[in-house]
């Protein structure tokens, strides 16, 4: 029984547990075909235990599908995914995925959090702290589906954090938000990363990737065209595809 349920709230204890289990990530020969069309073609990827990784690439490169495969929502056509030494069945529960368009329950803001806390057998008291953390405490009794885009995405983040994930997967979480809302999301993600949660985020926002990411994975043609530290990727990308992408010349 190695799930995080058995671990207390001390961040250090959780951190130790994480390192032992879900990470590093090792992906080998990942292939995925949708309706006979190959989307991922033998993708290899290694992610270090810590930090924040940005996944970039043109629209339709398969970034969302890759996140869902990593999260265990979609089975790949072939290939191996090794989250540390963890069996795939355990993986989904120990990660949280924030979708591009948040799917919120038809309930109040508070009830959306309560629902997850209850489903995971976690104490309800942590709800207000979570809402406060994402700046939504004053909207606790609001209908969740009446929130603005930025607020809704912050609630989705709070819900993801309520599961106490070891890995946080974000799929273009700020894609349709104004700069201020995007900054608010970024701050929460940075906090999560600092508290030891492994963050993997898909983004098209180069500024955001520069601010958040330690390394960048660039997807192109169903493979990882480039995987470099963020400090190298943006000034001098190695692959021509990434160079074209950053210059706005690459189309899928």
């Amino acid at each position: 029984m190695s799930s995080i349920d058995t671990v207390g709230f001390a961040p250090q204890a959780r951190l130790a547990q994480r390192e032992a289990n879900l990470l590093p990530l090792r992906v080998r020969g990942l292939e995925l075909s949708c309706d006979g069309t190959p989307i991922l073609r033998g993708l290899d990827l290694d992610l270090a235990p810590h930090g924040c990784t940005a996944i970039m690439g043109p629209n339709g490169a398969g970034k969302s599908l890759l996140l869902k495969i990593l999260h265990g929502l979609i089975a790949p056509t072939s290939g191996r995914i090794e989250w540390g030494n963890q069996s795939p069945a355990q993986v989904t529960k120990r990660q949280a995925l924030v979708f591009q368009k948040p799917v919120l329950l038809r309930r109040s803001v508070a009830a959306n959090i309560d629902f997850v806390l209850k489903a995971r057998g976690k104490p309800r008291q942590s709800r207000d702290a979570l809402l406060d953390h994402v700046g939504l405490l004053h909207k606790a009794r609001h209908p969740a589906r009446r929130l603005s885009g930025g607020e809704a995405q912050r609630l989705a983040l709070a819900r993801a954090l309520a599961t106490e994930p070891e890995v946080l997967l974000l799929d273009e979480a700020t894609a349709s938000l104004d700069p201020a809302s995007a900054q608010a999301i970024e701050a929460i993600v940075r906090d999560a990363c600092a508290s030891g949660i492994r963050v993997i985020c898909v983004t098209h926002d180069i500024g955001q990737a520069k601010r958040l990411a330690d390394d960048v994975v660039f997807l192109h043609g169903g493979c990882v065209a480039e995987h470099s530290p963020a400090c190298d990727f943006f000034p001098e990308p190695q692959s021509s595809a990434a160079r074209d992408y950053l210059n706005g010349r690459l189309v899928f």
Binding site: H71, L73, P143
Partner: protein, 232 residues
Amino acid sequence: MGEAFSLALQLVTSGNADLYEIVGLSLRVSLSATMFACLIGLPVGAWVAISRFRGRGAVLVLMNALMGLPPVVVGLLVYLHLSRSGPLGFLGLLYTPSAMIIAQTILIAPIVAALSRQVLEDLHTEYAEQFRSLCLSRVQTITALLWDARYSLLTVGLAGFGRAVAEVGAVMIVGGNIDHLTRVMTTAIALETSKGDLALALALGLVLLVIALGVNAAVQSLRMSARRQAYV
């Protein structure tokens, strides 16, 4: 005709005891049947909504077909089971309100199941991926769907109630339209009309109409306030 109508209004407004006894029994039988039909139909509808199994298409066809069960046929089947020589005859339920509740439950449970299946399946397509990401169990998924669809399911329950309270064939056969015992609005209207007592028939028809319209209006306004909160 005009005379019968004014007499009917008088019956309604004066609080005629016979009239309100019949109305009361009608409501008791049909509300009970609606409750039992929901207890059976909602879990079935929810389970089919989130499940993928072989023969699912056939189950859907069957559920939709059962929605159109003719009341007299249901009445006849329940009668055959409850009559003294039937397998459940020992219960002595024939010609009691219980028999009518059973018949109406059988009549409308398929309606609740089929309509709620549709509602919950639509909601589930929206929630499914998020729920799988949260690793919810089947029971957690079903409870969440039932709660989040609560306002739509109210309309489903109403459709069942509407069919039950307006139905005459099944309650006539298994209830027998016995005065002060199993006489409900629809059977009373049928009887009084055939006897030529149009006043009582009209009065009951009026009440039936008001109930139908009233319940609909209540559910509609509830749904509208729910929509304002984006809960529908």
